[in-house]
Each structure stands twice: as C-alpha cells, then as structure tokens.
C-alpha cells in the first residue's frame, strides 16, 4: 500500500496546478471522499442534463434518422481503416516472406500477428520531425488529406445488403473524385518537404494518377451502361444470381484495364513510381517520420483494400454468392419460448455435461499419454465453447443475409489483396516514360474501344 501511495503521489505531483506534495498529504480516507464527491457530482450532472436536454436530443435524432445513420457510418468507417490496414500490412509481410522463402514475422503474438500493431505503436512513439525550410502547414496537412481521401471512398462501398455508409446515386462518380484527391495530398507532401527527391516523387504521382484516372473511369463506363446506374448497390444487384451474371464475364477487357489502372492508382508495384526506393529514396515520404508517415502508410494499404473492394463490387458481384444458395436461409425449426425456463436450463446443462465429456473422451483417445481425466475435461470444456462459437457462426452465416454477404465480400476482396501482394513480390518496377506511354497509347484506346463495343451491344439488344 505504501508503494502504491508513493507511486500515485509521485505521478500526480507532476500535474501542473496542483502544489507539489498536496496529494501526498491526503490519506486514503480523503481520497475515497474525493472520489465519492466526484462520482456523485458526475451522476447528478448526468441525470439533470438528461432530464433537461435528453428529450429534445432524442426527438431531434428520431426525426433525423438518416443523419444519425450517416454519422455512425462515418465513424465506423474511420475506425475500420486501422484494423484493415493492420491486417493487410501483416498479410503483406507474411505472404511476401513466404514467396521469398523466408518465414516473416513470428515473434510478436501468435504467428507474428501483432506485428503491425507494434509497427503502429512504433510509429506513434517516433519523433515528429519537420525539416528546415519545410512549409509546416502544408507539410502537416498532406498526410491528413491523403488519408481522408482514401477513407472517404469507403463510404459508398456496399459491404453487405444494408451494410454501407451511404447509397449515392452517383456512387461511382463520388468514388473516383475522392480517389483523385489522393494525388493532392501526395503533391502537397512532395512540394512542402523542401527536398528534391520528395519533389520528384510528388510530381511523378501527379502525372501517374492523373493519367491513369482516365482509363480507370472509362473502363467502368461500360459497366454503368450495362447496369444502367452509377449506384454501387444497384450495380451489385444487377449481378445477383450466379457467377455467370458477374460483369467480369460480360466486360473482360474492362476488367483488365480496370485492374491495371487501379494498380497504378493505388501506387502499387509495378507502378510504385512515387516511392521508388532505389531511385528517389522514398519519394514524397522521404522527409516524413512518426505518425505523419504512418498516415501515408495507412492510406496506402487502405487504398489497396479499396481497389480490391471496387474490383469485387463492380466486376465480381460484390456481396452476392457465386452460386444459387441451396440451403435454407431461415432457422424457424422450433419456437424457443415453448420450452420454458426449466426446459432451456435442462438443455444447456445436458449439452454442457455430455458435450464436455464427449470432447474430453476424444482428447483422451487421440491425445498423448499426458492427457489425464482432469486436464482432458478442462480442454473439452474449452473446446465446447469453440464448437458452440463455430456452430453459432455457421448459423449466422446461414440465417443472416448481411453476415453471409459480408463473408463473400471479404473473401473476394482479400483474394484481390492477395493478388496485389503477389504482384509486389514478383514484378520489378516499370520506368516513368513506359508507365505514361502505356496509359496513353494502350489503356486509353482500349478503354474507348471497350466503351464503343459495349454501347453498340446495348443499342442492338435493347434499342
């Protein structure tokens, strides 16, 4: 207790405004009293505040459900960028390592899974440095612009039926305009860093992203013609049915153009001109450190996710299943209220007992000699939870369409994430002039040709 008091006293003595030693002079009883006073004051304030301001707030929120929904969606989307980036960074480390005959991260967490969390903490702990001569305002804003431009595009992507930020009727247009904002952040970073490598990287990114935006947008116009809408939800709905209804099979050329242009748009290998480490050190990010660099890093991996999600949504049916779902999608087997309390309690107890014993028996049979009656029962009890969770997940997968849709969506999206990582492990970088020449000489005419063919087909079939 003395040690605890010393610890708390010392740590609080540094708080500005409290005289040094005032906290140490208090006794435990004093501190309890202070705590109780603060708690009571807080509770009274909360109750009064709710009584006075609660009804109008609730009324306002109830009257503006779409607004509430929008703010919740924005918050959730900003929050999920972080775990998404973490997962993709970890996958990249691990998959590239395997392709290079290495092991990859395996120290932090099981199979190194906490590696990207540690990376994030490391980045937070680093010095936030700005070089002499940098334009501090622009230098600070650049990563924010890049990150927000990436995160905002997530707003219109339909993850599952009913699970999307906002269903714009100009969804695709919004998406490409927000994606185009990324270049602004990179250019700001390159310009404000007061470094020639950064400047070259920023200018490269401007040239590259603006060039590739044209074939990227034009390749999707064919899909818009076929679906008759720019809303991503409706584009997904137009592909429902089986895998043969996907636009990937109706628009293969558009898919090819889209994938190449999207790779360039996300600054991924082989088009990672802007941060070509062997040429211009780290490009626009050369002078960045700490969390400012972290935002660029996040934005890059969120971009990978967005591009994969877009390919999934536009060409591979989004959250729809690749085949007609043969199994029942509702669980109306019995009425759960008919059993009553004792009936449920009996079922739960019986399942817990016999399930544990059954799993413990399996462990004793197939485990080694060290599995005695005691520890195998313990393991069986733990395994029972795993089995129950798996069964519940399966039931949710079967019964709830959002969960099923999200599972299909994530499976398809992470397949494309894997393809991006695979490309990074395999391909060298193209040169700047080759990159630009490819965009203007090949991709743009090809996307125009695709548009022409699609429009002709639509006119012949429907007109």
């Amino acid at each position: 207790m003395a040690q605890l008091r010393r610890l708390t006293g010392e740590s609080l003595a540094f708080v500005r405004g409290i005289p040094r030693g005032a906290w140490q002079r208090t006794t435990i009883q004093d501190r309890l009293l202070i705590l109780v006073v603060f708690a009571l004051g807080g509770a009274v304030t909360t109750v009064l505040g709710l009584a006075i301001f609660g009804p109008p707030i609730v009324g306002f929120l109830g009257a503006n459900i779409p607004l509430v929904r929008f703010f919740v969606a924005v918050t959730v989307i900003l929050l999920i960028t972080v775990p998404t980036a973490f997962v993709i960074i970890y996958l990249e480390l691990k998959v590239i390592a395997r392709m290079n005959l290495r092991i990859g991260p395996n120290r932090v967490g099981p199979w190194g899974t906490a590696m990207s969390v540690i990376h994030g903490l490391k980045v937070l702990a680093k010095e936030d440095f700005a070089p002499t001569g940098a334009d501090i305002t622009v230098f600070t804003l650049a990563p924010v612009v890049t990150y927000l431009a990436s995160a905002m595009t997530l707003l219109v992507i339909p993850f599952a039926p009913g699970l999307f930020g906002q269903d714009f009727n100009i969804g695709l247009l919004f998406l490409f305009s927000m994606g185009g904002l990324t270049v602004l952040g990179l250019l700001m970073a390159g310009w404000s860093s007061f470094n020639k490598y950064s400047l070259l990287g920023g200018l490269r990114s401007a040239a590259q992203i603006i060039s590739y935006e044209i074939p990227l947008t034009l390749s999707v116009v064919g899909v818009i013609l076929l679906a008759g809408t720019m809303s991503l939800n409706h584009i997904v709905a137009a592909q429902s049915g089986s895998a043969l209804d996907w636009f990937a099979f109706k628009q293969p050329l558009a898919l090819l153009i889209f994938f190449i242009a999207a790779t360039a748009e996300a600054n991924r290998t082989p088009f990672d001109m802007t941060e070509a480490d062997s040429e211009i050190v780290a490009g626009f990010a050369t002078e960045y450190s700490g969390m400012r660099f972290g935002f660029f890093f996040f934005a890059e991996y969120v971009n990978v996710f967005i591009v994969s999600a877009l390919a999934t949504t536009i060409f591979f049916g989004g959250w729809t299943a690749p085949f007609d779902w043969p199994w029942p999608t509702t669980l109306n087997f019995f009425n759960p209220f008919a059993l009553g309390f004792f009936g449920w309690a009996g079922i739960v107890l019986a399942v817990a007992f016999f399930g544990t014993q059954f799993l413990a028996l399996l462990v004793r049979l197939f485990g080694g000699r060290e599995w005695t009656w005691g520890n195998s029962t313990g393991l069986g009890f733990l395994l029972l939870f795993v089995v129950a969770a798996a069964l519940a997940g399966l039931a949710g997968f079967i019964a709830f369409e959002p969960i099923r849709g999200l599972t299909w969506f994530m499976a398809k999206t992470y397949f494309f994430v894997f393809v991006f990582i695979w490309m990074r492990a395999t391909l060298p970088r193209v040169r700047v002039d080759q990159l630009m020449g490819f965009a203007w000489k090949w991709l743009l005419p090809a996307s125009l040709l695709n548009l022409f063919l699609t429009a002709t087909a639509v006119v012949i079939v429907h007109g």
Partner: protein
C-alpha cells in the same frame, strides 16, 4: 527547390553560377554585397522576396545543393556547376539505397532526364596500396582482401600471382587446381549476387533473396575450406593455406547436384520477365570503340562484342588445360551485360566440374623461405575477376617489402564510363546502368 524559381536571382542573369557563390560558412567579400543587393531589389519591386521562406532559402538553400565550397578549379567544373534553364542538381549518394556503397553522383537533371553527371569518389579511400608497400610480402594478402569484398579471392590471387612471378615460384598443380576451384565458386557467388542486385535496383524484391540462397551455400562451403565467409585470406605465395576437406567436398557435392538447374531457374525469374527486359534492353549502350577506349574489361567488355578474357588472352594457373567458352554479345546494353553474367555462371559450373575430375594429388604449398626477399625487378600479375581484369603491379627493391605496389581495379575503369552512358537517360535508368556495370566501391576507392 520550389521557392527558388519564384525568387529573382540578382547575382546572375539567366544561368545561375553557384560555383562563384561562397560557401555560407566561410567569410568572403562577395557575401554581404550579394545579400544586400538582394534585399534592395526585393524592397524596390518584388514584394515576394520578403517572404521568410525565400529568405531562408537564400541562406540555407545553397547548403542543399551539391556545389563545392571553392571556386571552380577547371573549365569542366565551371561548366558542370552552371545550371541551364529548367535544370537542377540532384545529389545521388553517397548515402543512397541503390549506389552500391558510397558512390556519389551529382546529376544535372532536366525534369527526370539526365543532362550531365559528375561522379565523386574516394569516400572509402584508405591508402591500401601504400599500406601494402609498408608490409612484408605475406601481409599484403590480407591487406588487399577487403578491397573487392564481394569476391576477395581474386584480389589475393592477383597479388599472389605478381609475387610468384617476382620470385619465380613454381606452384604445385594441386594448389593451382584448388585456386581455380575456389575462384570459380566465388565467381558464381558474385555473379548471382549481381543478378539479384540488378533486379533489386529495378524494384524487384524476390530475386535478391533467391540469389542470397545460392551465395550463402557457396560462402558456407568456402568457409569450410578457408575458415572465413567473406575475407578469406586463403591464397599464399606458392600455394594455398589449406587442403580440401571433407566438409567442403560434401557441401560442394550437395550444391553441384542442383547448381545447374537452380541457377537456370533463378535466371528465368528475370530473363522471362517482360518488365525487366524492357527496363534493360537498349539502356546504357556501351559500344565497342568506347569500351576499348576506356579500357573496360570483363563481362562489360564482352557484352560489347570484344572476346577478351584474361584466362584465355594471358593464360595463368591451369586455365590452358580447362575447357570453357568465352561468351560474348554484340548489343552492349544493360541486358547484354546481365546475360553475359548468366552465361559465365554456366561456364564456371563447367570449369568446377573439370577441376573436380582432374584434381591431382600432391602438395599444396611450394617450398619457400620464412623471409621473402625477391631479387630487384618488377612483375605484373593479372587475373580475370568477376568484374574484369584484376591486376597487380609490384616492384621489388630486394627488401622484404614491395618497393611499389599498384592495383588495377576493373570496377574503377568500368565506372569511368558512367558519365558517357548516363546523359540522355532517365533518372530511373541510372540504377539499371550502374547496377549492370557491377561496381564494388571498396575496390574503386582502395
């Protein structure tokens, strides 16, 4: 830099002559006058020069440009450090991910296109030649080891060869075969590493790791033979330090059973990669006449169509008894220089095979006195290293130390062609060209 364009430069009309500007740290009569005039101009007509950022750029901007702090010494220097319209300097190195050590290139860029190059060397200079002149003949071997650190056996070999000529030593045939065997193994290691680094400089992640697997196998087996992984100190005047042992032979046998197929597979990673071929074909073409004029040797010369190989042109050791081809190519570009190395790996595997079949029995050292005092004279010993002709010119004055000791390093000569190869290419091609010339800065700076 961004702000420099917007600021009028009062000190010169049109082209900026920063070479004439004094270093900010050094007092000079020109400095106060210049800044004073800049202030006058700004207060008179250009409001933008009051911007603290532009003033800061005036003060510290010069520090970020790679301009020497002294007035131009030569006409060439004066010409190089004068910027034309729309040009800028880029200081590439000495700390840069892709300059293979501490090479520094001052590039004059117009956009991304290279207008002119000024290579700056000497960051690793230790005066090894002079150190060798002050150590006795035995100690020279471990002094020259770290020069070309990727393939240090060849550096030893050149020194040992010149000393043996100086002393008329007959090396036992088994020692010669062991030298050829270990040397060719190290040549494969060096060429494999070259392939990986070329791909890495072009942005490919995978090949370098596959290269390091092969190199590590070879380096480990050489460690079993010589006791060290990089700086072997294995060759001796009159032979080698140790005989073939069981661990070396078993590692070598393991590796040889898959060497041919594995090197083919590693080469196929790049040979059949469209992006790699497009990045290197026609880039940095070194024509035959230029290559000969600069004295380029090794794979870089053979890629330009000259079948010069020291092992055939000036035979040494047991190379006359061995069968191997000298591969040549006509194109002289980065891709040809890469493919030459791939072909040479195949030839080296053939040579190793023959060495293992023809390995004679016998001693591994000639009988030599403890203290070496060769007769006064001079000798030139040259071997074919992975980067070209590695030569040592030694003069003896009859004492136990070489009177003069000079090293001809192929990387130095090959790198001298960079200023003629780079202009007109893009910044990204710098990496393809430098990496395809395969310089090792340790040997260049000596």
């Amino acid at each position: 830099m961004p702000t420099r364009k917007s600021a009028p430069d009062p000190s010169s009309e049109g082209g900026r002559t920063p070479c004439g500007e004094p270093h900010p740290g050094e007092p000079s009569p020109a400095e106060p006058q210049q800044f004073g005039s800049a202030h006058d101009v700004s207060s008179a007509s250009f409001a933008s020069t009051d911007d603290p950022r532009i003033m800061l750029d005036r003060e510290v901007g010069g520090l970020f440009d790679p301009i020497p702090p002294y007035p131009p010494q030569t006409e060439r220097e004066s010409e190089f450090y004068t910027l034309g319209d729309g040009e800028m300097f880029l200081n590439l190195g000495p700390h840069h991910p892709a300059t293979h050590g501490v090479l520094r290139l001052v590039l004059k860029l117009s956009g991304e296109q290279i207008v002119d190059v000024d290579p700056v060397l000497g960051y690793l200079h230790r005066g090894v030649e002079k150190i060798c002149e002050n150590s006795d003949y035995y100690h020279v071997i471990d002094q020259v080891d770290p020069l070309e650190y990727i393939s240090s056996l060849f550096q030893e070999w050149a020194a040992v060869l010149s000393f043996e000529k100086l002393m008329d030593v007959d090396v036992p045939p088994r020692a010669e075969y062991i030298r050829v065997l270990s040397g060719e193994l190290l040549r494969i290691a060096s060429h494999t590493l070259f392939q990986g680094f070329l791909a890495l400089d072009l942005g490919g992640l995978a090949p370098i790791l596959y290269s390091f697997i092969e190199r590590d196998e070879i380096v480990e087996m050489l460690a079993a033979l010589t006791g060290a992984r990089m700086l072997f100190n294995y060759f001796r005047i009159g032979g080698v330090n140790g005989d073939l042992n069981h661990e070396f032979m078993s590692r070598l046998g393991d590796w040889m059973s898959r060497a041919a197929s594995q090197t083919e597979a590693n080469a196929a990673l790049l040979n059949e990669n469209e992006i790699f071929v497009r990045r290197t074909r026609g880039v940095g073409v070194l024509d035959r006449a230029t290559a000969l004029r600069f004295g380029v040797t090794g794979g870089n010369l053979r890629a330009s169509g000259v079948p010069f190989d020291v092992r055939r042109a000036h035979p040494y050791s047991v190379y006359p008894d061995l069968e191997f081809n000298v591969p040549t190519r006509e194109e002289g570009d980065s891709l040809a220089r890469y493919l030459i190395r791939v072909d040479e790996v195949r030839e080296s595997i053939r040579i190793i095979d023959q060495c293992l079949h023809n390995m004679p029995d016998g001693p591994i050292m000639a009988k030599l006195p403890r203290l070496l005092r060769p007769r006064p004279g001079r000798a030139w010993g040259a071997v074919e290293g992975p980067r070209g002709m590695l030569g040592v010119y030694a003069i003896s004055d009859g004492s136990d130390q070489p009177f003069r000791f000079r090293i001809h390093d192929p990387s130095f000569v090959n790198l001298a062609t960079v200023p003629t190869l780079l202009p007109g290419n893009l910044l990204a091609d710098t990496m393809a060209i430098i990496a395809s010339l395969d310089p090792v800065m340790g040997g260049i700076d000596k």
